[in-house]
Subunit: 334 residues, 2 copies
Amino acid sequence: MAQETIILTGDRPTGPLHLGHYVGSLLNRVQHQADTAQYIMIADMQAMTDNFDNPQKVRDNVTEVTLDYLAVGIDPNKSTIFIQSMIPQIAELTIFYLNLVTISRLKRNPTVKTEIKQKGYGEDLPAGFLMYPVHQAADITVVRANLVPVGEDQLPMLEQTNEIVRSFNRIYKTDILREVTWSKSVTPRLPGTDGKAKMGKSLGNAIFLSDPADVVAKKVMSMYTDPDHVRVEDPGKIEGNTVFTYLDIFAPDKQAVEEMKAHYQRGGLGDVKVKKYLIEVLNTLLEPMRVRRAEFAKDKSYINAVLKEGTEKTLAVAQQTMTMVKKATSLNYW
Amino acid sequence: MAQETIILTGDRPTGPLHLGHYVGSLLNRVQHQADTAQYIMIADMQAMTDNFDNPQKVRDNVTEVTLDYLAVGIDPNKSTIFIQSMIPQIAELTIFYLNLVTISRLKRNPTVKTEIKQKGYGEDLPAGFLMYPVHQAADITVVRANLVPVGEDQLPMLEQTNEIVRSFNRIYKTDILREVTWSKSVTPRLPGTDGKAKMGKSLGNAIFLSDPADVVAKKVMSMYTDPDHVRVEDPGKIEGNTVFTYLDIFAPDKQAVEEMKAHYQRGGLGDVKVKKYLIEVLNTLLEPMRVRRAEFAKDKSYINAVLKEGTEKTLAVAQQTMTMVKKATSLNYW
């Protein structure tokens, strides 16, 4: 029996979304929402694991991220947007699942290992941070999602989810929990404006979807190109030239880009000219988003209603899941 | 400003309650319920941490433990009996608190350390087991309890709770969480029928509150006394003689016990005679409990109603607590 595909995706509300999010996931969400059930989780509790001393930042960014969603064209009538902390069943499932996972297994998770090193936790590793993959298994299974679009670096998280799903179904002799598959983004990862491999909120190398036109222009003008391309008449390199990487991804006129590349490589095309073209391309993409964002931002009660309705819809599904879990574990009292 | 005293106490539903529970805590609860707000938690989720592969045992013992409560005279109109897993706010608070505690701190908990060794977990330590002190902090704070009667071996658990309470109140600049004090039981710990220091459900040395009269008689007849007291006419020892320890605790006629002790020490009083007296004493204590238990056991819907009402009352308080916590952490959306 073929089962319905249910997608879970989402973001940590720790800052505004940027072009990396756009090509890496937001665009896919806009496309998927037409024909697939899709939950978009604003992961405020996950954000709290490393921002517990700054909850106001998390709170404020819940609104900002929702505005970004609406700006890019996520339609709350097609996608279910919900706030993680408002679904108590996620916490309840996490507590259940924590019994099925050992501490040494959690410590072996490569994604968590890398992040622990990056954050320099050492001996002061917060329990919530180590537990997080178990919490994610709860996020996914509470809405009975079976498809989670993530980057390859997040695959160990999904493996942990599937281990928990299999343990649960085996121990409680049930099939209520679904294993999850991932769909790899076809778009290559967008580098930062500094040419570094990853665009990141906190790396100072991001172009945000909500950046005004002049800020985009300024960020593009300072972008990393070919450091050996000093004079206009010199031949320039395309490989590793971030401006051309962006043009390949964002410029709709592929032929124009190919012509510029050839010109740049044989010499006679200056960085400023290429950058001005990219500014035009990006602002053409971002301008309608800015307009929609400004429109939605005027009406805070609408944003609230979107979040509330999505959360209530998710709650109803979460309650069903919890009822099934309690029945499977015999802890269904009344 | 003096604040109301609120007690949280409870039991893991992993087996019937015994005389050790009776003198160590149940009797206190019956006394406290007259003048103090008292929550009694049936800790099914805690039981799951080391019984996750046998949930039916946990489920069945929820009813058995409730019957034991009613049998000893806990009055559901005075004490609030609730089922832990039915309060989702406990799970939600646990997730919040996990951010405030480090893994190394959890591993230093002496009670947990001892239990890990006893259970022989080694590298396969379930995450839920290590986390348990954090879950307990949620149990306690969700009903805003400030008094938790526990054995001295459980003090590190309360210290962990108070550390979490202080961290939370400091980080979120609030005073909504209350620190907890403990009240030490005045009764010495009841040894097992085998003379070992502790009576335990799983140690085969317990007299259960629900044991029929003939089972009590049989268990007392095989009790540990003075191994050197071979012939009736020999002098016997009182120290470490479990039968006399029990008589000291349970016999209402203290003078009769003192006379028996003197007789036993100078010789001429046989073990059988002393044991028969103890059987009489214990069955006099237990008989009214058995009668009440049998009465309540006839009406499963009453047991269910007791648990449901207590749980609903607790839910209302838990919701208030969660509202305060969400406000303090800025994660109050609507």
